[in-house]
């Protein structure tokens, strides 16, 4: 009788969790199992929205979200009204790669996943992830000091940005024609 009572309580809980997972999957701005259409091969990239600064830029917080723009000979990262810039001719190397990120992340997301009943948080971690591109730059400042910057971009954007940077004078040990490094 106790077991039957537990089963009666478990079914609505499981149903709520499945609804939550479905809401995350349907509400996510990008398709999880398909490819995101990127810019065409020959088109110039001027602005990439939804870029994230992972680390490296001075006076910009880590994990800041903004837009990456190529403006003449300068690469700019806009966060609100503020912007950080890198002179494209000072870029020593450009790398692209692919990665994935969790849609539900951070300390709050982690706590929410841990609080979900019947280990359904693990199912959410398994299903709710998104493919992203990683753009890594190495450049020299005016004193010759080496700096490194890492950005994450929506899937398919990094190769076009790299191509544009190399055309404008950035150096790259791996040519843009070669594919990005896959995880």
């Amino acid at each position: 009788m106790v077991r039957a009572h537990m089963c009666e309580n478990a079914i609505p809980l499981i149903g709520c969790c499945l609804l939550a997972v479905a809401a995350v999957l349907l509400g996510s701005p990008t398709r999880l199992f398909g490819q995101q259409p990127g810019p065409s091969r020959g088109s110039a990239v001027e602005t990439v929205p939804n870029a994230t600064h992972v680390l490296g830029l001075e006076n910009v917080k880590r994990r800041a979200r903004g837009r990456l723009a190529i403006d003449g000979n300068t690469l700019r990262f806009y966060v609100g009204l503020a912007a950080a810039e890198v002179n494209i001719s000072s870029i020593q190397d450009v790398f692209t790669g692919q990665d994935s990120k969790q849609l539900v992340r951070g300390k709050t997301g982690m706590m929410a996943k841990m609080a979900m009943p019947y280990e359904s948080g693990r199912v959410l971690s398994l299903l709710a992830s998104q493919k992203i591109d990683v753009l890594t730059l190495e450049y020299r400042d005016s004193n010759g000091g080496l700096h490194g910057v890492i950005f994450t971009l929506p899937k398919g954007q990094a190769p076009a940005v790299k191509r544009q940077l190399v055309e404008l004078g950035a150096h790259a040990s791996v040519s843009p024609a070669e594919g990005p490094a896959k995880p």
Partner: protein, 181 residues
């Protein structure tokens, strides 16, 4: 009787005020001495230059190499043991006296997976193992250590580089550095 009480209370108030004034001035002197001591430790005259990360591991992604370098620059600066932290290639370091140079070589890398960590908890750890060497400008070795940075249960893979940099900074903090002479 009332006059006596009044004079005694006035005397007591003056004595208390005097005692408070003495205590305040003594505390201020102590704070100044402590701050001078603290700044004295930070401005020990030593400088450090961080060299780019080298790797024996072909599988180390470039973003990890860059993240280790940037996190080292930040973490070593926070130790407070150096007057200035120079980046590799900085021309200002050429004329700077008492310069130490930090070399990092990645000898082992396990990429791990955030998804695997969050689904299984026990699997998917990202581990970076490196040999870290601090030398003087003349080439004398101050220390050589194997340091490991990792992220296990929760967090992104790049957090392993931050963990690594903090451990290197802790090693530097605990190691007696050469005198300026």
């Amino acid at each position: 009787m009332k006059r006596k009480l009044l004079s005694q209370s006035l005397l007591l108030a003056v004595l208390l005020l005097g005692a408070c004034a003495c205590l305040t001035s003594r505390t201020r002197l102590l704070a100044q001495t402590a701050s001078a001591k603290a700044t004295g430790e930070k401005t020990s005259g030593l400088n450090i230059q961080i060299e780019p990360v080298e790797s024996d591991e072909a599988s180390l992604p470039p973003e990890f190499r860059v993240a280790i370098y940037e996190n080292l620059v930040e973490a070593v600066g926070k130790t407070g043991k150096f007057q200035h932290v120079f980046r590799s290639g900085d021309r200002a370091a050429d004329a700077t006296p008492h310069l130490l140079i930090l070399h990092t070589r990645v000898v082992g890398f396990k990429p791990g997976s955030q998804k695997k960590r969050e689904v299984t908890t026990v699997a998917g750890a990202t581990i970076i193992r490196s040999s870290v060497q601090l030398v003087t400008r003349e080439g004398r070795t101050v220390f050589t250590r194997e340091v490991e940075g990792k992220v296990r249960f929760f967090g992104e893979n790049l957090n392993a580089t931050s963990d690594f940099a903090k451990k290197v900074a802790a090693t530097i903090r605990l190691t007696p550095l050469p005198d300026r002479s």
